[in-house]
Point group: C2
């Protein structure tokens, strides 16, 4: 398998789905739709929809008709979180991935509304999956159950007990010496929340059992945790050129990170420990997906 | 019927439901939950859940077990819209109903996150209605359908093609001479959007037909429109004392309102016309709810 080639193939596949689900730029309020599209089209590796798609395939999922709205919805939620995060009252970022941020291009009020619009439209899009149910078919009830359960995962993992909760801990931890438990909770919510949602929704729509879902949730949680600890490490060991953003920014912004509570060697050990735990959990499943495995390894051991 | 007494009874009934559905203030991220509760508990007449409850009763709804999560969800969405509206980048309001606004008490970043939290939690709460379905019962499929349809109405009417779209038009119309069509579209989306959602969800969960739902939607749209034109009129004819907020604020803020495009007499005629249209639509239904009727008349002819 040529990983990079397979990765690009999937990005194209996912971006096609995203395009299909973007709202049309029409009406007196078309500026907000333009701002939403601007943010979505800013690029990125589409990691969350990709993990969703590959978790779906891991459990034998083939027909993506019910999955597609959720691929779009998870990326809308991820994107709204970036748009609001970049606001002056939050991280006050003017650039993201080399492009001006939404509030710089459209103004602060429109960026707030574009974020709200993306979040709301994510749920409208996800609930659009109900359209594909034929109420007279034998599996109508089971399809309603699957979609409903996916919507609940989406709301839970992106809300106060998920991503938003993590952002709150992040903001309130600045300038503090946080405990490891507090930092782990922050990473599990802020970074792992949407990864858990992605993988659980993919698995669930493909028919994974409750027990399998719990395993997928723990693997996803570990991916998020390792990803974020590697982020902390790279912030002190990498260079602006390799990382594509300024290093040493955590210390400058008084962020609570692993680097504030342990040395590099111990942080690397944490990543190894979490990676090993995820590997064991993955091995306990009866299914295999080579691309998903390679993607997970890449995320947990990221060099940039 | 003593209207005021009946009104107070319902406010108490609804606030009890709201309390039941507020998230617990726990965890490292409890500040955001505190800010969400602060905003919800700031009071108000609970118009939207009340219209939902009474539309439910209009169509013979009795058991509110599936309705309750939606009563809470619509008020969460209304509240998030106020929290974000009050932000410095939007209307920059320091007080609302005599209390300091959320961003004044908790800071701007936390107010953005509390708004995001309320919006997301609204969908989590609404989707919690699925919990009440017994999958083995004969009406399981019909209950899934009802809840799913209510969630779609909620997302659609509060999103870009509803409330958010209206807010965008509002912001972009400042300092412009807007057309009547543009102002009507703004009011239909911004103000009527959540009223439509409220009444449609109540009716739909009580089993209203597609045709009845369309009539309810048009009545709700007219309530929102008349409510907002009355707001424009009161802004120039009332006093700070009666209104409980500064009058002549629309002109000061360069807002596009009915008063910018017609005189008082013509605006009053519009209200009468819209009210009459709603009355006829209501009469065409085969059901009656005296309290709902009185409430609608009150909203369409508001004096404060």
């Amino acid at each position: 398998m040529n990983f990079e080639q397979e990765l690009d193939k999937r990005i194209i596949e996912i971006e096609k789905v995203l395009m299909d689900y973007l709202p049309k730029q029409e009406g007196y309020y078309k500026t907000v739709i333009e701002a939403m599209s601007y943010s979505i089209l800013a690029g990125g590796k589409r990691i969350r929809p990709m993990l969703m798609l590959e978790s779906f395939r891991l459990f034998g999922g083939k027909d993506t008709v019910l999955l597609n709205p959720f691929l779009a919805a998870i990326e809308m939620i991820h994107t709204y979180s970036l748009v609001h995060d970049d606001l002056p009252a939050m991280d006050n970022d003017e650039y993201r991935r080399g492009r001006k941020t939404t509030h710089i291009v459209y103004g602060e009020a429109m960026a707030i509304l574009a974020g709200d619009g993306l979040l709301t439209y994510a749920f409208e899009t996800a609930a659009g999956a109900y359209d594909f149910i034929d109420d007279s078919s034998d599996d109508a009830l089971s399809m309603y159950k699957k979609i409903s359960s996916a919507i609940r995962i989406l709301a839970n993992k992106s809300g106060i007990h998920g991503m938003i909760g993590g952002q709150v801990i992040d903001i309130e931890s600045e300038g503090q010496l946080a405990t490891k438990d507090r930092i782990n909770t922050m990473y599990k919510l802020k970074t792992a929340g949407l990864i858990e949602a992605s993988m659980m929704i993919g698995a669930s729509l493909a028919g994974a059992s409750e027990k399998e879902l719990a395993i997928i949730e723990s693997i996803a949680g570990d991916i998020g945790l390792a990803f974020q600890i590697r982020d902390d490490i790279l912030d002190v060991t990498s260079s602006d050129e390799v990382l594509g953003k300024p290093v040493n920014s955590d210390e400058k912004n008084d962020k609570s990170t692993y680097m504030a509570i342990m040395n590099l060697e111990d942080a690397a050990k944490e990543v190894a420990y979490v990676t090993d735990r995820a590997r064991k959990a993955y091995r306990s499943l009866s299914y295999r997906n080579d691309f998903l495995e390679a993607l997970i390894v890449k995320l947990m051991n990221r060099e940039k």
